[in-house]
């Protein structure tokens, strides 16, 4: 029996897919199983020279005769609400309540598709189509059973009604085993030397075709609140987190890392087994760990033996104080990517009435989750490996572990469990404790749990690299920007190598140090622009150990940095032309969505138009300086506006953001309360980056390795936050949770200028940097 065939399918799919087949009648039970039909797997199975893959392919969706619906996706909950959104999306297509859907996420042996966990938009598109195909198949089943044409059927909460009859989905599948195969394309993740970051297929499979989907106007669940299903178990202590996995015969491990990011092992120390009777030192090349059945013994023995290790010296880093000089002195070749016309931009600059230029910069920053990396691995003699992980790309991790252990992908299973937010550092399926755990399990022949310490995590996890951007604009006599040019220079952000594998001298992936233009251009009324971006290898990439300062993407990657430079320059141009920053932007934008959001956010913030700097920054109290600033951004079919109000205490250099108003228009809003909490929390992370965060390093090691040296925003430092949401039924889904952090730093920097008349061109605005800025500009209002 064929379900509705989408006309958009390529011919080779149309011959066989999607297809609903009855595998047989059952005495009891019954289910409709929705599986993928991959041309690649099909070809392997029928080609006699290629052995069929000896793994079961998990289904997308299972509709059981007890009314439960199980949905499987390789993408995981990363703290922003996906585990609530996905059920809403699939429930809408199936006409069932979201609470009837149980999600299985991330396990490579129990989910079909792989993909980036942060890639919600593509994940949602897949699951919507899975739901839509399934709905069409169920309608056909009901039509046959009730002898009512499909067009005359309606469905409410999983009950199909037509011609005064009704039947539930559960009854439709009872006593049968029905298989629906749906068309997909793509490959699961594999190591690929040609890929930019060393891995191909990280975005997983894509469901093909365009099955009829529910019109937005008929949505019942999308656009309403749906709670995150995992929360009750998390607040009662029932959740099994990655760190809670405990296996029979398991060893606890603590890593003993080299003193610098480039050191190699000269001589290993010895464990005092009178003090630590069951602890054991494991050494492979530069990978050193202490394992014990008792976790505290592993902790104590690793601390004791660390002092007894001999490592080589290494001093190949420029120090964090000289980061900008190091970036400046690098011999950059051609840009990784460029957009726009050099000639047109140069011509506009040549005809300009006024020109502005600036250089902005930011040091290395950290993802810095509250829970350091942890993983458990069970590697068997037959080469099979099971990894318990909280990676945001289980399939990518599986490919990397197979590569490092020199085994085949089908022998590796990654099981995903909750853990602390990753903020992008595992998006490419790398980094983390999984490599350490797998290698140690292979060496000891026992399951091994590796818990990195906080200091390990700060010192040895990848960072979001420091950068510098030169940016300039030309203006005409009417104070309109005629052209803008920018050159962005950064360390690479795609080194997803597994650190344990590097230290152990085992196979790792290789990446190219390219960067990318991340800006989505909001200023369509600026006629000319030329953007270029440059990437460089990790600092210390040539160190003897091969580790160095590894760079990886972090929340709103690339665009967070490039938007800071763009929006800061726009604010400088508004001030130079004595124009209100909002009015100045409105003169360069014609997108009505963005314009509406700017107005709505400005209204919520009670924004009174005037140019910066603030003519009366001291207000009445006389000692503190008050300022306000704004910025905007477009990202993934969503518009964002941020407005910051700050108070500076010149005597201490401390900035308090007193109020932050954030506006978002992410197309059709799926879940307003979940969006609101992502906006509120994203502002906290963004202000933290604007005011506090900086990785410090000397010539060999990262030195900001605890919370008192890598400071993040505390509750008392959080401003009053107001949110503005605009939903559009006709604009599809946009990225609704990630980008909230990125609209904070430019707005806070603009508010600093508003208060002081000084343009800050670097973040974080720490008390020391603020004091330096105020002292360097004795003519500013701060010193008047």
């Amino acid at each position: 029996m064929n379900a509705t065939l989408p006309s958009s399918l390529p011919a080779n799919f149309r011959t066989s897919l999607p297809r609903l087949t009855r595998r047989g009648f059952l005495q009891s039970g019954g289910a409709l199983i929705v599986s993928l039909a991959s041309p690649r797997i099909h070809a392997q199975a029928t080609n006699p020279t290629m052995p069929a893959r000896n793994i079961s392919i998990a289904s997308w969706l299972e509709l059981r005769d007890d009314g439960t619906i199980i949905v499987r996706t390789g993408r995981t909950e990363i703290g922003t609400g996906m585990s609530g959104f996905y059920p809403q999306i699939i429930a809408e297509e199936l006409c069932v309540h979201p609470s009837t859907i149980r999600l299985i996420m991330g396990d490579t042996d129990r989910t079909p598709d792989g993909g980036y966990s942060a890639g919600f938009l593509t994940g949602a598109d897949n699951l919507r189509k899975v739901g839509a195909y399934t709905y069409q198949a169920l309608l056909r089943l009901a039509s046959k059973k009730l002898r009512v044409p499909v067009a005359s059927l309606i469905v409410e909460e999983g009950i199909v009604c037509g011609a005064d009859q009704k039947i539930s989905y559960a009854d439709l599948v009872r006593n049968q085993r029905l298989d629906l195969t749906i068309p997909v394309s793509g490959d699961l993740a594999t190591v690929d030397a040609k890929a930019w970051n060393g891995l191909a297929g990280l975005d997983g499979l894509t469901v093909l075709g365009n099955p009829p989907t529910r019109p937005v106007g008929k949505y019942k669940y999308i656009g309403t609140s749906n709670p995150m299903p995992g929360i009750p178990d998390k607040v009662t202590g029932r959740t099994q987190w990655t760190c809670d996995v405990s296996l029979p015969n398991m060893l606890h491990a603590r890593m003993v890392r080299p003193p610098t990011l480039g050191s190699t092992l000269i001589a290993a120390g010895k464990i005092d087994n009178t003090a630590y009777p069951t602890a054991q030192l494991i050494v492979k090349h530069n990978l050193v760990a202490v394992v014990s059945p008792n976790e505290w013994e592993a902790v104590s023995a690793s601390q004791a033996v660390a002092a007894d290790m001999k490592w080589s010296e290494w001093s190949g880093l420029p120090t964090s104080d000289k980061l900008t000089e190091a970036l400046r002195s690098y011999k950059w070749s051609k840009p990784s990517e460029a957009k726009g016309s050099v000639e047109e931009t140069a011509a506009a600059f040549g005809a300009a009435a006024k020109k502005l230029s600036a250089t902005y910069e930011q040091p290395y920053v950290k993802h810095a989750p509250i829970g350091p990396y942890v993983a458990v691995a069970d590697v068997r003699l037959d080469g099979s490996a099971t990894i318990w992980s909280h990676s945001a790309n289980s399939q990518g991790l599986r490919a990397q572990i197979a590569n490092t252990l020199s085994t085949t992908i089908d022998k590796v299973v990654v099981r995903w469990l909750d853990h602390a937010g990753q903020f992008g550092r595992t998006t490419f399926g790398g980094d983390g404790a999984e490599g350490d755990a797998a290698i140690l399990s292979q060496l000891t022949g026992r399951p091994v749990r590796v818990q990195w310490t906080l200091q390990d995590d700060f010192a040895w996890s990848a960072s979001s690299p420091g950068w510098v951007e030169d940016i300039a604009c030309s203006l005409d006599a009417n104070n309109r920007i005629t052209a803008l040019k920018s050159s962005f220079y950064s360390g690479q952000s795609n080194d997803a190598r597994i650190v344990g594998a590097i230290l152990a001298g085992m196979p790792t992936i290789q990446s190219r140090p390219d960067y990318w233009i991340a800006t989505e251009w909001p200023y369509d009324r600026i006629p000319h622009r030329h953007e270029e971006v440059f990437g460089m290898p990790n600092l210390g990439s040539d160190s003897p150990s091969g580790v160095g300062m590894r760079g990886l993407i972090m929340r709103t990657p690339g665009q967070r940095q490039q938007n800071f430079a763009l929006e800061s320059l726009i604010n400088e141009a508004a001030a130079a032309t004595h124009t209100d920053p909002i009015d100045f932007r409105l003169a360069h934008i014609s997108d009505s969505r963005l314009i509406d959001l700017i107005h709505a956010t400005a209204k919520a913030a009670d924004w009174q138009p005037r140019p910066s700097p603030n003519p009366n920054p001291r207000k009445t109290d006389g000692t503190q300086l008050h300022g306000r600033g704004m910025c905007l951004m477009i990202r993934q079919n969503a518009c964002w506006v941020g407005i910051a109000e700050i108070v500076i205490t010149p005597s201490t250099g401390v900035i308090q953001v007193t109020k932050f108003t954030i506006g978002a228009d992410p197309g059709k809003i799926i879940n307003p309360p979940q969006l609101e909490r992502c906006m509120l929390s994203g502002v906290v992370m963004g202000i933290s980056e604007a005011l506090k965060e900086e990785v410090t390093f000397d010539t060999g090691r990262i030195t900001s390795t605890i919370w008192s040296s890598y400071k993040i925003l505390t509750m008392a430092e959080m401003p009053e936050i107001k949110t503005v949401q605009i939903s559009h039924d006709d604009k599809g889904y946009g990225g609704g949770s990630e980008a909230a952090n990125a609209v904070c730093p430019p707005a806070v920097a603009a508010a600093f200028h508003d208060a002081t008349g000084i343009h800050p061109r670097r973040i974080p605005l720490t008390p020391a940097y603020v004091t330096q800025l105020l002292n360097r500009n004795p003519t500013t209002p701060a010193k008047s």
Binding site: I78, G79, W241, L454, M685, I706, M715
Partner: protein, 172 residues
């Protein structure tokens, strides 16, 4: 060798075999299988491992079990019984402390890793200050030794709302 020490956790007496200097965190998690408290920093700088010791919040990552013997230890798994006892009603598997219910109602956890400690801090605060102002909530989570309670997801606004919601529920 390991001594035999007695600990009272969530109203139950346990004899544990770890050495007296072992931090409470490792004993709770690995011997008693109470995984609510979690390792965050190991140096009392984040709050993810917080538990109540005779009603006062302590960081279990630096509290040796020798310092916890003879005292009442409460983890988030024990909050429902603590609440039921204070109201003199029987607890069952569905009982929740108002703080836990408020954390669900306000959808506080994002990744949730720090939230056990956040709820322990709320339980302590509301026991000593039943109607805290926003300023008092911020102060308790930021300035109380040994360190601020840190949340990297940035759920502070939701925590404030949840503490206020729990405050109302506990007075009802």
């Amino acid at each position: 060798m390991a001594d035999q020490l007695s600990l009272t956790v969530n109203g139950q007496q346990h004899t544990v075999s770890s050495t007296p200097e072992t931090p409470l965190l490792y004993v709770l998690r690995n011997e008693l299988h109470l995984t609510g408290p979690r390792y965050g920093c190991g140096i009392a700088q984040c709050g993810a491992c917080a538990v109540l010791l005779d009603g006062a919040e302590v960081r279990s990552c630096i509290t040796p079990i020798a310092a916890a013997t003879g005292k009442k230890i409460i983890t988030i798994e024990g909050l429902p019984a603590l609440w039921a006892e204070s109201k003199n009603v029987p607890a069952n598997e569905h009982t929740l402390h108002p703080v836990q219910q408020a954390w669900i109602d306000e959808q506080v956890p994002q990744c949730g890793y720090c939230q056990s400690g956040m709820m322990i801090a709320a339980a302590e605060l509301l026991a000593t200050k039943p109607s805290p102002t926003i300023a008092e909530i911020k102060d308790a989570y930021t300035n109380k030794p040994p360190s601020p309670h840190l949340c990297r997801c940035g759920t502070y606004a939701a925590i404030i709302r949840a503490v206020q919601r729990a405050s109302v529920a506990m007075k009802a």
